[in-house]
């Protein structure tokens, strides 16, 4: 990866972190409503993954989608505006935190029902296969989603039809507050791929370079027509499941242990250690990210609310 791209990945990770920290404050201030699930701690996963895709590759994920939105190239302004429910938001204020998408950037949402987007991913891949395009659908989901029936139906179908899907399990160890071992018959999620005859690998999700390398290989394997495969990416969320999480299910010591592997810190050490960038350059990038978030907040605050007259827009495509 060239230096400019490495620095861009660092920028993306810091941007996600700062944007979400700001989002948390705005949430506490009542300017963001509903449910909001922060990606803080998991930034290396989607950053590495999406950096490895080609423009024709589709991305679809669950409700913890702010990071994915940024990585897919949605400007921070539109992400922040959507969080605040403004008409300039990427989903025009209709979706909120959990429902961001940008078709022009091949980002297919932001889906809030656990596991329900997995069959959709099979369908997206079917669309490409049917039309003879070489796109790969990258479908991200939490380890909790592997316990719901949709997971089985979608993976089974993708294998039976040899659909170009890369199944990416983000294993952050907890489905809401329930630890993996308390909810899943096997704690090593990649074992589940065996049941579908799929190739699989487990990856360190706190290391953006490891994610990138594994994803690059997996995406091209899928593209070459060998059918779907699965990555299990080990990660950890530093914040609660959502904004209203008392965090009674884990010890602060455990969180602290993981924070020592902060993906931004890990990448910082990689970049400086391998002479890819100086600490000063990275500090400038951090400053730029902070400024961009500040601008995004200003943009969102200044943006208009969707008008009452638009309430019925887009219920249907056609006049009814």
């Amino acid at each position: 990866m060239d230096k400019a791209k490495l620095l861009d990945l660092y920028y993306q990770m810091v941007l996600i972190r700062r944007l979400e920290e700001s989002g948390a404050e705005l949430y506490q201030a009542g300017k963001i409503g509903g449910f909001m699930h922060l990606y803080i701690g998991q930034e290396a996963v989607s950053t590495g993954l999406i950096a490895a895709r080609q423009p024709q590759d589709r991305v679809i994920t669950a409700y913890r989608d702010h990071g994915v939105a940024i990585n897919c190239g949605i400007p921070a302004n539109q992400v922040m505006a959507e969080l605040m429910g403004k008409v300039t938001g990427i989903s025009k204020g209709r979706g909120g935190s959990m429902h961001m998408a940008d078709v022009t950037r091949n980002f297919w949402g932001g889906h809030a029902i656990v596991g329900a987007h997995l069959p959709l991913a099979s369908g997206l891949a079917l669309g490409d296969k049917y039309a003879g395009r070489d796109g790969v659908t990258i479908c991200m989901f939490g380890e909790g989603a592997t316990n719901i029936g949709y997971f089985h139906e979608a993976l089974n179908l993708s294998k039976v039809w040899t659909l170009p899907v890369l199944w990416v399990c983000e294993n952050n160890m907890y489905g809401m507050g329930t630890a993996v071992a308390r909810a899943s018959a096997v704690s090593e999620i990649q074992q589940k791929a065996e049941g579908y005859g799929m190739a699989h690998a487990r990856v360190d999700g706190m290391d953006v370079m490891a994610v990138y390398t594994a994803a690059k290989k997996a995406i091209e394997t899928v593209r070459n027509g060998s059918g779907p495969c699965m990555l299990e990416i080990m990660t950890y969320r530093f914040r609660g499941h959502s904004m209203g999480d008392p965090e009674r299910y884990r010890q602060q010591a455990e969180v602290k242990r993981w924070e020592e592997h902060d993906p931004i810190g890990v990448f910082h050490a990689y970049l400086t250690g391998n002479k890819k960038a100086t600490a000063k350059v990275l500090e400038e990038i951090e400053g730029r990210a902070r400024l961009d978030v500040q601008k995004a907040v200003e943009f969102a605050e200044a943006s208009p609310e969707p008008g009452e007259e638009t309430l019925f827009d887009n219920v249907y495509v056609e006049e009814v």
Binding site: G95, H99, L120, L126, G127, E153, L157, V317
Partner: protein, 323 residues
């Protein structure tokens, strides 16, 4: 015009649309090699091939979910659910995804999707395989819900559904597959969301659709022997619901009976009668009466099943009640 069965009309609509548009394809359980559990897709697999007539695992969430995903990419899937009772296994995808994706992402996603499902009682299939839950699906904005009562409507409306850019649930009644009627050949398309008068009359308005149309037609003939002329309005589409012909008819007759096969509580009749009261209260000469399925899970026993389902005699009695 050919006189064909409703099964043939549905089959013809799909065949013609698949010939017309290479993006139209079928997926579902036993739609291919088997030829369709109700033989609606007989011959399709041999003609269009395995890519366009796709046999799926028995996995309804995967069928509807994959149909939605492929529709988002611009394909025009026709997903067949072997029966509408299995739609509950895909309920989340129908109501939480199909009905909402266009709206929830500010219009970015377009879903030109048709879900065909067979419903209805009267075949001794027991409670889980005999339901008429049409009203459940019609509850959700974002879906279009169609259920035809004649072969011509089946063809014209299914072609419209396939060409629609909105998700459409197309509900077929299994006991109507053998019903014959005149069906225009070739490009016959009926706009979605238009109710129509199937039998003109002046004394009482019967509002119905699907199987209820057949029942009401039989009742109308009985009543005609006594000089009672009912006007039958066929809704054809539950969402969008076109009340105009209903209200127009009601203003003439001032009396209405609503006939549906689903349960009465929270059903189509409840919705239509409310709208009659809302839109034509000054014209009401008698309370609107609903004829519907009795409030039990449908039993297997033939006689018991028939007693739970609405019959022409029930409609005759209801008409006499409002007169």
């Amino acid at each position: 015009m050919a006189r064909i069965t409703m099964r043939e009309a549905i089959s013809q609509a799909m065949w013609e649309e698949m010939e017309r548009d290479p993006n139209v394809f079928i997926l579902g359980e036993e739609v291919g090699v088997w030829g369709g559990s109700y033989a609606v897709t007989k011959g399709f697999y041999d003609h269009f091939g395995a890519e366009r007539v796709r046999d799926t695992p028995i996995a309804e969430a995967a069928i509807i979910g994959a149909a939605i995903g492929s529709a988002m990419t611009g394909l025009r899937p026709i997903a067949e659910l072997m029966t509408i009772n299995f739609a509950f296994s895909a309920m989340d995808h129908i109501v939480n995804e199909a009905a909402k994706l266009h709206y929830m992402f500010g219009g970015q996603f377009v879903l030109p999707l048709v879900i065909r499902a067979v419903g209805g009682g009267g075949r001794q299939l027991g409670a889980t395989h005999s339901q008429t839950p049409d009203a459940v699906f019609a509850h959700f904005p974002g879906l279009k819900v169609i259920s035809p009562g004649t072969p011509a409507d089946a063809k014209g409306l299914l072609k419209a559904a396939i060409r629609s850019n909105d998700p459409v649930l197309f509900i077929e009644h299994a006991t109507l597959y053998q019903v014959r009627g005149e069906v225009p050949e070739g490009d016959y398309v009926i706009p979605i969301g238009k109710s129509t008068v199937q039998r003109p009359g002046k004394d009482v308005t019967i509002v119905t659709y699907s199987k209820g149309l057949e029942i009401s037609m039989k009742a109308a003939e009985e009543l005609a022997k006594d000089g009672i002329e009912v006007e039958i309005v066929d809704l054809r589409s539950l969402r969008p619901l076109d009340m105009n012909p209903v209200i127009e008819s009601f203003k003439k007759t001032n009396r209405a009976v609503i006939v549906e096969e689903g349960w009465k509580s929270f059903g189509v009749g409840a919705e239509v009668s409310s709208r009659i009261y809302e839109q034509a209260f000054d014209y009401v000469d008698a309370p609107v009466v609903r004829v519907a399925q009795k409030e039990v899970p449908l039993p297997y026993n033939r006689a018991l099943e028939q007693s739970a389902l609405p019959q022409p005699a029930d409609v005759v009695a209801a008409v006499r009640e409002v007169l």
